[in-house]
Symmetry: C2
Subunit: 341 residues, 2 copies
DNA sequence: TTGTAAGCGTTATCAG
DNA sequence: CTGATAACGCTTACAA
């Protein structure tokens, strides 16, 4: 049984082929400026011919750095990995792109329960730092990451606590944008479907942005709260039902997330309410499915590219011992079919 | 400038604390059965107290294996990472879960153009093997992975060539299921919106499954082809338009992917065609957005958990020098609103 | 059952 | 500008 290992080409082999020392090979390939161009050329050629690729593990062992970022996607306990809110998948894509642009590899894992929170990425030198993305509902997970050993570097999206190293959408501005849009469309009784107390702190920020803009425009803010613990869609559906049943007059809904908005939309449709004719609806997050609903959902969409960049930058800053700013991702209003033009 | 490195706890420190040799620590923690339980307990305790975590890089360097799988998500060139077909994101989630269940880490990257295909994961010992997921349209990417150096281990979803180490949905069975369902609902003129020539080979398999079932039930199969190079949604929209404009009578559409079906649905709605009343529609893939369309899309959904498992198993088998089977992921019919009950 | 010692393939220090 | 020569922290024969 032949050992594959014997086939491995090392920097020593390249050195021999190029007629230089092994350390010269390392420096030449690493771009060290002290190496003369002719030498570097010879080394490169030899490396190419032998199809040499440096062993990352050896390099990392020696350097003490990994060039890798770990991304942990927090799921609801028991939730199927494929059913994670698509918003987080989009964020994952942008984050990977941002990391790659800075020369980092990305180690991804989906975690939902205590037994696998312990990636020990930094402790075991699998990654230089950690980015946490995912549901705010899994408080056990957040507690775990909050209690990471001192010296751990991390950054996260959203975050149930303001003390975490978070990056977030510009929720206040986004909510104001949505509210002004609805009012500008001629809707008068705009209610916010959301929460002031959810672990998802961004929801409160969105409510606050909505409330401030309402008052500014001379209207009284109204909150139709969502129930805890349910899937977002179901929360939206029930909140819309409760709102309609309450008899309180309303002609527009600003939902603090798209999935909630989508659920509300379904309930409205079920009751024969016409959107955007009778009631206007705006969501928040810019999930893809919003483009497919009937009518397509108007929403506040964060700049995903900036979001990924900010997460990675913030983490890299933390690894360097700094605290980075800014932390807010700009948002834009996407007008689709669920509001009058 | 203090060197962080000096703070690192090594197996040597643990050895000292436990009063044993360094190699005993390694063996004790690795679960080597030759170590006596009292010794192991002492070592574990010391390790715990010192908060020791083995350096993975050193371990991997020594072992020559990484315990890591690389997953490459192929995007359309220039496509924003966040806009990747959600089907692939779901698949990514399941794949990560399957890998984790087998003790593997997962290195994820999104790639669209030649300059970054070259992850050199295996050559640089960053991973033991490669899983490729993503659009079949990016032929440059597939060519690259097809030409991986000998000894490279990989597996992929879909695949533009039958010679690749693919895992796929049970497309023939799924298409037959969809077709029988439509016929069973009372629709008579069922046309397939898809392609026999797309690089996405699964499309042809789905058409074949449809055609076979149609003939079996005494109907003539009809293919309404999609145009190359457009977004799937637009392909669906245009195909539906072309079909309607052709004057050819039809009362049901089997679309070879959900995104195509969703596009077709939109076009049908735009023309005032009632779904599922006038026309029934079934898609393929089980994407989440299908639950939000109006009406919600009936579809053929693969078992994502099995899909992730099969991909990982197939790769692991390849790493062990075997060729694994099976490669087909079972599918089920999900009846939602776009077909009469 | 445990200790000794030889690497794994780099990078970085220090001469020259 | 380049070459020796230490580490880096672990796993695994080989001894005892």
């Amino acid at each position: 049984m032949a050992e594959k290992r014997s086939f491995r080409v090392t920097s020593f082999d390249v050195a021999e082929a190029a007629g230089v020392s092994q350390s010269t090979v390392s420096r030449a390939l690493a771009g060290d400026t002290s190496i003369s161009e002719p030498t570097r050329a010879r080394v490169r050629e030899a490396a190419e011919k032998l199809n040499y690729q440096a062993d990352e593990n050896a390099a990392r062992l020696r350097r003490g750095k990994t060039g890798t970022l770990a991304v942990v996607m927090i799921c609801r306990p028991g939730e199927d990995r494929k059913d994670l809110n698509p918003f987080y998948f989009s964020l994952l894509g942008s984050t990977c792109a941002a990391a790659a642009a800075r020369g980092y590899e990305v180690l991804v894992s989906f975690q939902d329960s205590a037994e696998n929170f312990m990636g020990h990425y930094q402790e075991r030198r699998k990654a230089d730092g950690l980015i946490v993305i995912g549901t705010s509902e899994n408080t056990a997970a957040w507690d775990y990451f909050d209690a990471l050993p001192p010296g751990s570097h991390w950054a996260c999206w959203g975050a149930p606590s303001d003390a975490f190293p978070w990056v977030r959408s510009d929720n206040v501005a986004g909510a104001a944008l949505a509210t002004r849009h609805l009012l500008g469309c001629g809707y008068r009784a705009v209610v916010c479907v959301g929460s002031e107390t959810s672990p998802q702190r961004q929801f409160k920020e969105r409510y606050d942005g909505y409330a401030a803009k309402m008052r500014e425009m001379g209207h009284e803010p109204v909150l139709q709260p969502i129930e805890r613990g349910l899937p977002r869609e179901e929360q939206g559906r029930r909140a819309a039902a409760a709102l309609a049943d309450s008899g309180r007059p309303f002609d527009a809904i600003f939902a603090v997330s798209d999935e909630i908005a989508l659920g509300a939309l379904k309930e409205l449709e079920r009751r024969g309410t016409r959107v955007p004719g009778d009631v206007g609806v705006v969501g928040f997050d810019g999930v893809r499915a919003g483009g497919w609903s009937s009518p397509p959902l108007s929403t506040i969409e964060p700049d995903f590219e900036v979001a990924g960049n900010l997460l990675v930058e913030r983490l890299i800053a933390a690894m360097g011992g700094e605290v980075a700013d800014p932390r807010r991702v700009p948002v834009r209003l996407v007008v689709r079919g669920s509001t009058r033009g």
